[in-house]
Symmetry: C2
Subunit: 875 residues, 2 copies
């Protein structure tokens, strides 16, 4: 028979999957001989079985619970419901991973009309006993029976009014006993049955309530955001109660073994005498800093400090602990690895190595790569933030915090900032490439529409500017120069603040503090670089991005999107001339104007990336992205270009596509207009010649996008090689360059062995590859993906984390087929996934040469790459 | 050293790939001891080498040509350029497959100023010699040197004018000699060098001209249409000349061993005495039927008949032969399997079996499946067609021929046909689902836009109605009730005719003849059915289609597109109510209206398909396809539905998608609105209960479209099974049904082993699978695919023939992964490819259970399936 229930002394830390984090640690502390009130854990498997059985608890689980209960009672020498010496327990949830959103704690379970008398006598404190009982009834009704607690709070208020008092503590034992009576009547009225007087019934109901809370909306949301599989289930911990509220020689507290804000090596926490856990949280009394305990009761403090040190040494990590003191005796209720700020995480990792506790490898694994973001961006001043209340929430699209005056157009942003240098926040329905110049000068960007991979989000991450995207409650009236949120109006010039790490928007100015990158950070990064084998490049289209990325440790450019170079207003005209050209000759005239601009861009990029590879992707988006679409704008453009309106309008209409994602773009443009590839090759190679003449070393990697067929690649490669070799020969210099392809179309992955005959490198474009493999576009999937999360069909966003089973299978195929033909073929990834720790680990395991990500993700990728190598060494 | 040149006696029929069809057959006839003027073949490999070397003939090829030439000269006892006894040759192209569009023939090569004198003396016929020389100069200049022949024709005309004659034949030897002089002057003037007087130079130039012609635009177009790989190259045949124009004891002719029009077993052809091949073609003299030869020269006729019989027996197929008689001696110049009409193809195949020449299997391989179409559709009366000239050409979208009065709207079509029963042709910019009722009553459909898989094309093929799609020159003015082609106007009510097998459109009424399906056809089909293992189902959404398909031998429905049932004007209202419903309750009200309609449809389909499986695909297209999009139409609908215009407009706008192909459709609709799947399941199962009660047997197969993930499938399957089992249980009957999925998303193919855990069958939706695997949509690919054909990146349309390397690889993976989990899983294909012979063969080889195609393609698929089994036996 499956063992569904473990006494604490039967478990250990390594059984986390079965016992949950809390249960495993209670077991481990028990084994370490620490003072832990004994109890037992109902396993995650029991929870899974509960759901399998259609939300019914299995009889064998109940049986095992009662058996464990009996043993625990014996240990305490008490009995459930006993009129003299009643046994009480706490019931808590505890999943594998710490999971807010689920049911937390029920205390004092086991109290009944009989037991409460026993408790009163035993403690000689009837007030304490009845106070515990009325709290228990309310908590049980609320979290187990889903009766709104407001029903009970009304009764409590009425009682206080009747007695003419203000505080709960001013009620005496008799009042509370009366209240218990009222609570039970209310309970029966609402529930149709009396409050259960059998503690075993209470217990089984509570256990099931924990199971149910695994599937509540808050838990589901949290799981989705944190990629915790639904299948894991939660465990339930049942633990004998000890009381911190038995008088001034009792108390309760929480403490960290180090300072979780900055990492300093000092006990950090709070405690209260004569209190239960909920009192600390409730905020009625102010807890004292743990350092005070030393003065109040040095022996106790020393004991706790010893335990903390022992636990930290045992777990080899900073601990977050809960304790209770019952009549002068210290009990440990929980320990776990403590959450900490990014700054603290880095410092603690470094310190633990210096203290000889951890190896460098172990230390690297202690820092969550995604935390590093916080070290690279400004954050709100915590004090200022405390007073602020968000007015809405969007997607946390690009980290950092900012305040500024609201503007609604890119032009206005540039104008205002130029005028008075004060910050602005650009608020738009959604951004488009023409907004770039306004985005560059803005302190933050807020959009009403668009997802994590919308234009605003992608560009903002690239620039390291904070961005909240897709804040649906924001109704933008660009023409009227205001926006509203739930009817409240915000005008141009009003200050707002946005937090791109949480998605919160505030209707006021909140001070920010600049990012401070410590020496510890540099040390950690240097360790990561020593260990990792996966290279980290950056996606950069401008010298500014490239420079930023080098500062963050990028080893080359993995993706330069050349089209981004053409969106600037000074250049888009020539681009548009190229697009509306009626024949090859006109097109070549326009291309000749673009050539020197593009060449200059590359010269600057090469200089920033000196010594490293620069991967240049040839023109990718459909041409209609470069032209205006409203009649008014078309009329303007027609005038500017000296074309009849009707003619220009027809040309633009001809560019319309039913499914632009699956249309005339990428390499398909070069097949139709080979002269574009010629121009781009000239720019890449002439720039390389220029910087080589200046004595620098450069190695361009020319990348052809959207390849699906060898002959298609060969067609363009031939043009590139012919153009490049002629220029290089004429220059008399030696310049190495590669011609490779993106793998972003399923067919390219399927036929990677053919394509590798000609392609000198592969770079996975996992944004498009994800779209085509799943058959949905990220622009449209927003409509139905929420339903996919709700029904648990998807547990994470495939555009945020590589779908390892599907898309990943194609990637593995491509790497393996490509290597058969071209051993050691250079392989990389340049989609958004290159900056996601999970995906970086997958890329490492798949044997890729490098990942490429936006500049501000480079440190994260370096750390994630090192962690991947530690977990699964390569080479 | 590679052997690039083969004497005829060195070759044989099996060497077709190397020697081309013509060369291999000349060799075979030589080996059979037939009278063939000797010569040699330059191999296809020499042609491939020519292109590899940048269009240069390799020295070793030239060397081998000259060596073979020497041997051939010796055989004839003649010498190139000899002043007494000059050796002359013909030079012809000859690829593996017969290929119009390439250079055909150069005759009399070897004539020079000296040799022409020798020829004159030898034949004692100076007029003949100079006539041959001037023809040769003109032909050489034209086809080898690319000098427009108009230059020489002017000179000929001037000469005739000067001499006051009308016919070439009225010029005498002296005139022709003068003309030769003028031709040579003209040649030098235009070419900058004299006409070559070295026959070897002439020969090598001619061989290269043949190689070049492999790459000319007409040849490229033909290859693309017929899927002949560019890599094959062409061979060149050099053959000693014999002369049919040496007097009345000489002649030339072509003949088939059977009648190629109807298959009758009788020599069928034409001949001319005293003529060369080109005279027969030129049409100046009328050739005589071959039967006349028997009267004119019985011995010669008998000899030819014997040879024809021998060749037919040898090749075991009807032969198409060319012959020349030189001074009473018969020479065979060519033989090949003859082209024939569909009717003849079927009769000849059956007759050859009855004659004991062929086995049934061999006979089945003799009929081209795509030819069968012609037997199932009306065709133009050949005599009426001869006089007609097309006014434009579009895509041959659905076979058959039709005439009718032009109408521009579906309503008008229905109205006119109802009124007078006379045929109409529906002419539209493009059709949409709302045109269905008009399409049903039209004799033919002509659209200005859209490709082979546009709505018009797909629906027309399904109905067996002829359709010409995407005729870009047709400018439709629906409002003005006319269309123009190059400025010429055609009004409503004017007669036009269209040929859906060629794409031609005629501006007049052309009589048609009905399809006649012979007993031979039925015999052939019965043999195909005996042999094939691949089942053939049909795609049918209406009882009419289903009935037609049963007549054509369909074994069930492989695809019933349920959405097509909702486009009818009487039903679309309820559908629209469902779409604009604001909540579940409103949606269920609308669905309740749709349920009885859909149930009735299924009852009728089941009855038509009695005993066979009916596969029902659940709602697939994005919902916006069901709603109007112009303001006027929205206003109408708003009025009809009693909704405010603005509200309806907003609802419709919310349905807009950036990439509808990759949007909210297929199973995604059922995830968002599970009630749709409930309604459809009720309709499927209630209908099954109904017909079962009537004593019929039915086996519904419920097919969930657009699956990419097991959990997604499971979610809907659970709904289906729950709904279905409740209904079945309540009915007390035993009804079997399956729940399966389409494999049309790459991820579904990649994870087919997971999906097969729940899916009871797979049906490949190769239209979408092709789109996603290549990353282009068929709506948009029309813009750039022509460039892909021009650059030879693609050699055929992946929407017409399965891309076996890419899409096919996914299909093979899916079949293999699916079978691992569910051995003998039922697999089929329901995309357009199911009616393409190449693709059917691929499906057979991949181990599919069935193909499903439009009703009129069913016979074709049955034959193609039999051929596939013969070529590669399965099971």
């Amino acid at each position: 028979m499956t063992k569904y229930v473990y006494l604490f002394k039967e478990g250990q830390a390594s059984m986390k999957n079965l016992l949950g984090g809390k249960g495993a640690n209670l077991a481990e502390m028990t084994n370490l001989g620490l003072p832990v009130p004994q109890g037992f854990t109902v396993t995650t498997e029991a929870c899974i079985q509960y759901y399998k059985d259609g939300k019914k608890i299995a009889p064998e689980v109940v049986e095992q619970i009662f058996a464990a209960l009996e043993k625990t009672e014996a240990e305490f020498g008490k009995k459930f419901g006993d009129a003299k010496n009643p046994f009480l327990v706490s019931v808590r949830s505890g999943a594998r991973a710490s999971m807010p959103g689920m049911m937390d704690t029920i205390l004092n379970l086991g109290l009944t009309d009989e037991a409460v008398e026993g408790l009163a006598k035993l403690t000689d404190n009837p007030r304490f006993a009845y106070d515990s009982y009325r709290r228990f009834i309310q908590m049980f009704a609320d979290v187990v029976m889903e009766i709104d607690k407001i029903n009970f709070e009304h009764l409590l208020e009425a009682m206080k009014e009747a007695k003419g008092v203000h505080l709960d503590t001013e009620l005496d034992a008799e009042d509370l006993k009366n209240l218990v009576g009222q609570f039970k009547v209310k309970y029966q009225e609402l529930k149709g049955e009396p409050f259960p007087q059998d503690p075993k019934v209470q217990l089984i109901e509570a256990v099931q309530a924990v199971f149910r809370s695994w599937d509540n909306p808050r838990a589901n949301t949290y799981r989705m955001l944190n990629h915790i599989p639904y299948e894991w289930g939660t465990a339930v911990n049942v633990q004998g109660m000890v009381f911190g509220n038995m008088g001034q020689d009792s108390g309760t507290g929480v403490a960290f073994s180090r300072n979780p804000a900055n990492g300093d090596r000092v006990l950090y926490g709070e405690y209260l005498f004569n209190a239960q856990g909920e009192d600390v949280v409730a905020g009625i009394r102010t807890p004292k800093p743990i350092a005070e305990l030393k003065k109040e009761n040095e022996a106790l403090y020393e004991e706790f400090d010893r335990i903390a040190t022992k636990l930290e040494a045992h777990y080899r990590d900073m601990q977050d602990m809960e304790f209770t003191i019952e009549k002068g005796k210290l009990y440990m209720l929980q320990t776990r690895n403590g959450k900490r700020t990014a700054q603290a995480a880095v410092k603690i990792a470094i310190d633990l190595v210096n203290e000889g506790v951890l190896t460098k490898e172990e230390a690297l694994l202690k820092v969550e790569p995604s935390q590093l973001d916080a070290l690279l961006h400004p954050t709100f001043d915590p004090k200022a933030l405390k007073a602020a209340k968000p007015i809405t929430q969007g997607l946390a699209a690009s980290p950092g915090a900012a305040y500024g005056r609201v503007v609604f157009t890119a032009e206005r942003a540039a104008e205002l900032v130029k005028k008075d240098k004060l910050p602005v926040v650009l608020v738009r329905q959604e951004t488009s490439p023409e907004d770039i110049e306004g985005m560059v000068v803005s302190a933050g960007i807020l959009t009403a529409r668009g997802g994590m991979t919308s234009h605003a989000a992608v560009v903002a991450r690239g620039m390291g500017t904070c961005c909240v995207a897709g804040a649906g409650e924001v109704k933008v009236n660009e023409h009227g120069k205001f926006f509203t949120i739930n009817g409240k109006r915000y005008n141009e010039g009003d200050y707002i603040s946005i937090d791109g790490s949480t998605g919160y928007v505030y209707g006021e100015k909140i001070a920010t503090t600049e990012a401070v990158v410590s020496g510890d950070f540099a040390t950690l990064m240097s360790w990561a670089d020593e260990i990792r084998v996966l290279k980290v490049r950056t996606n950069a289209d401008t010298p500014r991005d490239a420079h930023q990325a080098r500062v963050f440790g990028a080893e080359g450019i993995g993706l330069c999107r050349t089209e981004h170079m053409f969106f600037e207003s000074s250049r888009i005209k020539a681009m548009r001339e190229m697009i509306v050209a009626k024949n090859l000759k006109e097109r070549e005239v326009a291309l000749a104007k673009l050539l020197p601009m593009q060449r200059e861009d590359f010269i600057k990029l090469y200089k920033e990336m000196e010594g490293y590879a620069v991967t240049v992707r040839y023109l990718d988006p459909p041409l209609h992205e470069f032209v205006p679409h409203t009649d008014a704008e078309i009329a303007d453009l027609a005038k500017e270009m000296g074309l009849p309106f009707e003619e220009l309008k027809r040309t633009i209409e001809d560019l319309h596509e039913t499914n632009p994602m699956l249309g005339h773009r990428g390499v398909r443009l070069s097949i139709t207009y080979p002269e574009i590839a010629v121009m781009q090759t000239k720019a890449v190679i002439e720039a390389a010649i220029q910087v080589t003449k200046e004595g620098l070393h450069v190695e361009p990697e020319i990348m052809i996008p959207l390849i699906g067929e060898l002959k298609e690649f060969k067609f363009v490669k031939d043009i590139v090689v012919k153009t490049a070799d002629e220029l290089i020969k004429a220059s008399g210099l030696k310049i190495k360059y590669l011609v490779g392809t993106m793998i972003e179309i399923p067919r390219a992955a399927l036929l990677a062995d053919e394509i590798a005959k000609e392609a000198e490198f592969f770079s996975f474009g996992t944004n498009d590859l994800t779209q085509m493999t799943f058959g949905f576009s990220r622009d449209d999937a927003g409509k139905f993906l929420p339903d996919y999360y709700k029904t648990k069909i998807f547990e994470s966003d495939p555009f945020a984390h590589i779908d390892q089973r599907g898309v990943g299978k194609l990637m593995k195929m491509a790497v393996s087929l490509g290597s058969e033909v071209r051993p050691n073929i250079k392989t990389g990834i340049c989609g958004e996934h290159g900056g996601d720790p999970q995906s970086v680990e997958f890329c490492h395991n798949t044997g890729l040469t490098y990942v490429s990500c936006s500049p501000f993700r480079v440190p994260l990728a370096r750390l994630a790459a090192a962690q991947a190598q530690i977990k699964n060494p390569r080479k």
